[in-house]
Symmetry: C2
Subunit: 207 residues, 2 copies
């Protein structure tokens, strides 16, 4: 029936509806925000658009609330559950994507001013140091509830990464790489090219 390839967003929505039972896009959004949304943001417009698509494909079923807000309410169909199960069965093994603007700024720090990198590092460290205690509170709250173990696993992963990343940025803030004097890129220019070439060789065929 459907021809398009489902996206991660598709499966997330599918899974949330399966889990929450009949639910509105807003409920999906809220639950996502509380879990994977911490590190993988799904803008709410998407969480309204995606269920609509899935409904067209017969993987969700849509009904409208009578009266009141006239909300859209979605439930999983059997073929929706099937799609979800089949997806869960594949261990495709794609690596993570980690996107942090600050990492790009660290990378290109040579072109900035002296204090830039340290300021950026402190800013990031500050953010994660504030999020960590919240996560820990969540984790202890969930520890009692075995039914939330899957949810808990997600928060545990967020915590794991936050810790690592916080540590990293604190180190950078402590001893930030300094931009070279006089903007002399000349030296690093050829070195960077050599590095890229070496890297390509090391990763294509055998090292």
């Amino acid at each position: 029936m459907s021809s398009r390839e489902l996206t991660p967003t598709s499966y997330l929505v599918l899974g949330m509806v399966a889990w929450l039972g009949p639910s509105t896009p807003y409920e999906i959004k809220r639950t996502v925000a509380a879990t994977v949304g911490n590190v993988w943001s799904f803008p709410h417009a998407q969480l309204y658009a995606e269920p609509a698509r899935l409904a067209e494909e017969g993987l969700l079923e849509e009904e409208r609330e009578e009266g009141g807000r006239n909300r859209r309410i979605y439930s999983v169909t059997e073929s929706g559950l099937e799609a979800l199960r089949s997806w869960l069965g594949q261990a495709d093994g794609l690596p993570y994507e980690y996107r942090e603007t600050a990492l790009l700024k660290l990378f290109l720090g040579a072109f900035g001013s002296a204090g830039d990198t340290a300021a950026i590092a402190r800013r990031q460290a500050n953010f994660y140091s504030k999020r960590l205690p919240v996560l820990e509170a969540m984790l202890t709250a969930m520890a009692e509830v075995p039914d939330l173990k899957f949810c808990r696993a997600v928060i545990q992963m967020v915590e794991t990464i936050d810790r690592a990343v916080l540590d990293f940025w604190e180190q950078v803030a402590g001893s930030p790489p300094q931009p070279p004097e006089g903007k002399d890129v000349g030296a690093s220019r050829t070195l960077l090219r050599q590095y890229a070439q070496m890297y390509a060789k090391m990763t294509s065929r055998q090292g």
Copy 2:
């Protein structure tokens, strides 16, 4: 001159050209792949499209190679450098995005079969356990070369995250959360809703 807001991709390209000197999209691509590309993938089509845009906006300058492959060669302009510097000066402090399909599968593991989650976890662990030694080789190679310190910092971050994530997946593989018997979601259904609500309260106003 330009009206659009520059994207992270824009600044990355700007920075790479500034760093490499006059360069072709392919050289940009290769260098990106060797550095941030490890965790933040920029498809090559983008690294051909973006310099073209930047050239239109006067932030890069484009010339064509005479004869041969007739390649496009880009260099930074003064206003390009300015844009880069000004961007580096802002510590906007956005948190990272971490996207790993396996994390979604872990989250939704309740709907899969018994062995699924463990298989997925092993698969991820396997990948990172293979990448780590490569990164370490790179790091020791770069340790000698002070001009590559910014580049090295990036690889260090990748290593940091890989370690943390590898550890996490190994733990999951060791004792994976089991899907409930009989697909009884009923219990966790309301708990999940409660959790989402609690989370919303904890993160909006003060906890």
